[in-house]
């Protein structure tokens, strides 16, 4: 049986036939893309159903987010969002909350609605919401335990009731650095202490599973048909494997999870042979929806949101230094092991100094064992120089970028972190495309919303949160941005032969949109509605529609 879907426009990203109006699917595979008349040879031979539900909609290849963290999302998504940026979550539109008073009002409103053992709010930011303090929360909720988590995740405040509930007494807390008991503030190492106390609650089985289920909704809502879990083992390798299989392996999940293990965790305290053997068996036992392949992830420098990216001179405005997450020589040794074993290697790099190091290592590895189509990918790439990107091309490197940094941080970083020139040119994606690098966009969810259309919007318009155009010449065309969330993202994960564009022989992974991102006003790309997806030919709708088929 063939299912034939008719659309106003089908954007295929297949150069030989960029536009189409009909797509025929059998057993999860595309048999042909074209028009009803060009499909005639199939329709004459095979029984078929023609679906016209989407004939006024637009179809694009199924969206792919090659880099997010389900385990981290599972911890954050059960929290109550109060954020300065609007967040579209499947179960709630979170409006922008931009004043201290409005933040407090939201807390009161939510507290009246929920009955959590500990009520946790996520998204507080001093810049908009004013300084947080224990007494501020105490005034709103004197007797119920409340935690207010900072948007960066690196700091939290709790009220007195919460300290009592968690058994944090003064003697204990005073023995910690980076704990301000009066303010109820826990940050950096003090945060580790607070988390160790909160863990039984935030990592509790049912809550963690609820978090993964919510992530599944988020991924559906964004219109994805593939995601990359770009560091399995971030919290707990075995538990993540087990829970991911339980939640994402079933029939309620309409996307595949490409799993890339956290190299630091996997190789900690053991030989490369042991790690490689474990990865081989994981790849062999991969199920239809969750797949390990010869891929590995390492971390070079610190977090972009924490200003711990390693920068080349002139560095940061205040003279502080970024951080390495792994000794450079050790990073080289680990990359060498997996390079020689034929792996596709992903390296988290946020600063240009980390890019420099990573490319230097790769150049050395290429001289030891030349490889082509090796999939070596720079992940995030906050800052990189034009010269580095030309060098990256020579080495065959791909880029998977978090372009949302530009929208959310560029204005602030221009003033407070690195100055205007470098802040405005973070995420130099125009240069990446000009150099011919395979370039994709990701959300690193929950660092950015998992909404490919929103990330496309940032890449195409390069408008920061204050409305200012940043480095106009680094803007992508809408077609480039669409490729960056589909076919290029598939190449980053090494699955471009199976998905990422619409042509005969690929899996029927399609995202259904209300409008065409290639022809709407570029500033309206983020307003396009995601109506649903076909995942391997199975239809899933974001909102219930009647008259299917």
């Amino acid at each position: 049986m063939l299912d034939v879907y008719i659309a106003k426009t089908i954007v295929t990203l297949n150069r030989s036939q960029p536009d189409a109006t009909a797509i025929a699917v059998r057993d999860g595979m595309i048999v042909e893309v074209g028009s009803l008349s060009s499909l005639e040879p199939w329709l004459l031979r095979e029984p078929h159903v023609i679906h016209r539900t989407f004939e006024s909609d637009v179809m694009v290849p199924g969206f792919i987010d090659p880099h997010l963290h389900p385990a981290m999302a599972a911890v954050i998504l059960p929290m109550h969002f109060i954020t300065a940026m609007p967040w579209s979550l499947p179960w709630r539109e979170v409006p922008a909350t931009v004043t201290p008073e409005a933040f407090d009002r939201e807390m009161v409103r939510i507290l009246a609605e929920v009955d959590d053992e500990i009520t946790i709010f996520w998204g507080h930011h001093d810049l908009w919401h004013g300084a947080m303090h224990r007494s501020r929360i105490d005034q709103l909720s004197g007797d119920r335990p409340v935690v207010v988590w900072n948007r960066s995740f690196h700091e939290l405040h709790m009220n007195h009731a919460c300290m009592l509930h968690l058994g944090i007494d003064e003697v204990l807390a005073q023995r910690r650095k980076q704990v301000d008991l009066d303010a109820g503030r826990f940050y950096e190492n003090g945060l580790g202490f607070a988390i160790s106390r909160l863990n039984p609650f935030i990592l509790e089985d049912a809550r963690f599973r609820q978090g993964l289920e919510r992530l599944r909704e988020v991924v559906h809502f964004g219109g994805h048909t593939t995601i990359g879990d770009m560091a399995v083992g971030l919290f707990d390798f075995e538990r993540e494997l087990r829970e991911s299989r339980a939640i994402f392996g079933g029939p309620e999940t309409f996307f595949r999870v490409e799993q890339v293990p956290h190299g630091g965790v996997l190789t900690h305290g053991r030989s490369a042979e042991e790690a490689l053997a474990q990865l081989s068996s994981l790849a062999a036992e991969s199920g239809p929806k969750l797949t390990f392949r010869k891929r590995i992830k390492f971390f070079a420098d610190g977090a972009f949101f924490s200003q711990l990216a390693q920068l080349l001179p002139p560095g940061y405005l205040d003279g502080h230094e970024g951080e390495w997450l792994m000794v450079p020589e050790l990073l080289e040794a680990k990359l060498r092991e997996f390079w020689h074993a034929g792996y596709r290697i992903h390296v988290h790099v946020t600063g240009d100094r980390a890019v420099e190091l990573t490319l230097s290592i790769l150049e050395q590895l290429q001289s030891e064992l030349p490889r082509t189509n090796h999939g070596f990918t720079l992940e995030h790439m906050g800052y990189a120089t034009p010269e580095q990107l030309a060098w990256a091309k020579q080495l065959g490197v791909s880029v998977s970028a978090n372009i949302y940094y530009l929208h959310e941080l560029a204005s602030r970083y221009a003033e407070m972190s690195v100055g205007y020139e470098r802040a405005s040119s973070m995420g130099r994606l125009g240069t990446c495309f000009d150099e011919g690098l395979i370039t994709a966009l990701h959300s690193d969810f929950t660092m950015a919303p998992a909404q490919p259309l929103l990330n496309m919007w940032v890449a195409v318009n390069r408008v920061n949160a204050q409305g200012e155009l940043m480095a106009e010449s680094e803007r992508l065309t809408p077609a480039q941005a669409l490729a960056a969330v589909t076919i290029n993202a598939a190449k980053i994960l090494g699955i471009e032969h199976e998905t990422g564009s619409l042509r005969a022989g690929k899996r029927a992974d399609v995202t259904i949109l209300s409008d065409n991102p290639l022809s709407v006003d570029p500033m309206a790309i983020r307003d396009i509605a995601v109506k649903g997806t076909l995942f391997e030919g199975t239809l899933r709708l974001n909102e219930p529609l009647h008259d299917i088929g």
């Binding site: 931009v98 004043t99 650095k177 997450l325 000794v327 204005s411 409305g467």
Partner: protein, 293 residues
């Protein structure tokens, strides 16, 4: 309250941290515990191991070795409660000694006995000219009470007098010299003085309706601590791009109505009274199209 003396052992990869720890454990002159980055990499003589439990080892001489966990202070507490008065911490090769000291100095009940940085004398010069870790190495040396040179004593240059004065050479084998056990933290070590820079703060404000250009300019003028203001505001006269630097406020009419929000940068502790400027409680925020964090 229990009291613990801490010794930090820092230094870059290959400086000899693990070797020193191993020698200290096998020649222990008193009972102590070590917290290490990678327990598996510590080549402890099997004959010395009394028992193993999860991520810690107990040795026959009463010493213990633990794998570094998430909350260092909790680990120190636990060791103190099990009767250890001295704890050694092996820092990661990329840890800054300045940051470690910040984290640990001044904890009630904890005394920093010494921060020691190991350096392979042969690799000092290449490390200091490394493109990747030069400043890290300087930090590790600047913030050590004692610099322990392994393999060879470096030939210190004239700019490195402050390091030379604190450096001792450690033989690769044999019985550890007395100073290893006796070194004490100095009250202050050279190179600690932080550069004092003015402290900048920032806050984003969505300007409420009903204010005029003059109101806005007056607000900026009335609060000289405001160094910069940048963003968009809807005032009585229209929608404006705001670009203000000290003493000069430029408002340019802006056609783009999509954005609201002005980022203020001010210096010092005096918070400008943004409540005069920002949306009050009654105003809805949902109409704000896009705003920063």
């Amino acid at each position: 309250m229990t009291s613990v003396e801490l010794t930090l052992i820092g230094g870059y990869l290959g400086a000899g941290k693990t070797t020193l720890l191993n020698r200290m454990l096998s020649q222990a002159r008193h009972r102590f515990a070590v917290i290490v980055n990678d327990l598996g990499a510590l080549p402890i003589d099997q004959a010395l191991i009394e028992s193993t439990s999860g991520t810690s080892l107990t040795l026959t001489n009463g010493c213990a070795c633990c794998q570094l966990g998430g909350d260092l202070a909790s680990q120190i507490d636990q060791l103190a409660q099990t009767g250890f008065e001295r704890v050694l911490i092996e820092a990661s090769g990329v840890a800054k000694m300045s940051r470690l000291r910040d984290q640990l100095v001044g904890l009630p009940g904890v005394t920093l006995r010494a921060a020691m940085t190991l350096i392979d004398g042969q690799s000092l010069a290449p490390l200091l000219s490394s493109r990747w870790v030069d400043r890290l190495i300087r930090d590790q040396l600047d913030h050590a009470d004692l610099i322990i040179a392994t393999r060879v004593m470096p030939s210190w240059s004239s700019e490195q007098v402050a390091w030379r004065e604190r450096a001792v050479f450690l033989e690769a084998s044999g019985e550890l010299p007395d100073w290893v056990w006796q070194v004490q933290s100095q009250v202050s070590t050279p190179g600690f003085a932080a550069v004092t820079k003015p402290e900048f703060h920032h806050r984003a404000v969505v300007v409420r309706r009903g204010l005029s250009r003059a109101d806005f300019e007056g607000f900026v003028a009335a609060h000289p601590q405001i160094q910069r203001a940048k963003g968009f505001a809807t005032l009585n006269e229209g929608h404006f791009l705001v670009q203000s630097t000290v003493g000069r406020c430029i408002l340019t009419p802006s056609p783009a109505q999509d954005f609201e929000g002005v980022q203020f940068i001010w210096v010092g502790d005096e918070l400008p009274p943004f409540a005069e400027l920002s949306m009050d409680q009654g105003e809805p925020v949902a109409e704000v199209e896009s705003v920063g964090i």
